[in-house]
Symmetry: C2
Subunit: 96 residues, 2 copies
Amino acid sequence: MIKVVAKNYIKADKLSEFLTIAKQLVKDTNEKDAGCIRYELFQDTSDSKILTIIEEWDDMKSLNEHMQAKHFKEATSAFPDFLEKPGEVNLYEKLA
Amino acid sequence: MIKVVAKNYIKADKLSEFLTIAKQLVKDTNEKDAGCIRYELFQDTSDSKILTIIEEWDDMKSLNEHMQAKHFKEATSAFPDFLEKPGEVNLYEKLA
């Protein structure tokens, strides 16, 4: 299992637009992508501009296929315009 | 539900010591803490010094009680010595 935490810092005036696209990406990914165990969108409770997708994938193959999917490429092509500063993406393996 | 991502940057020469304590904390928390849905330890696949605990709690009350528990206070009292630089803790609500 691969865990992914993708943390994004979104411009205040782009929040609504980002949320629309990110929610559709969550829906599409859960419905369409093989090997997706969980793919969920979260908002920081003390800074609403921090939006983080937390993911679980069967393996690197399924994660790589997800990043090649049409719905992923279309959604994320808009993301650079929404960012206040560069985000962070970490891939993890579970230890305990 | 409250999601927590607690990201730690651990000194290379303290990794083993940190892991021993963190694994025990995961065990104690899952066994003892009311309102704990998930409490798991992850290691970054490209930087083994990034160790992150990803948590799910029923509500803020259960998270606050966890942080008052003896096993939490004992485990985390050692953590400052292990850190290469300050970590990040984000509390999240689920949007999608």
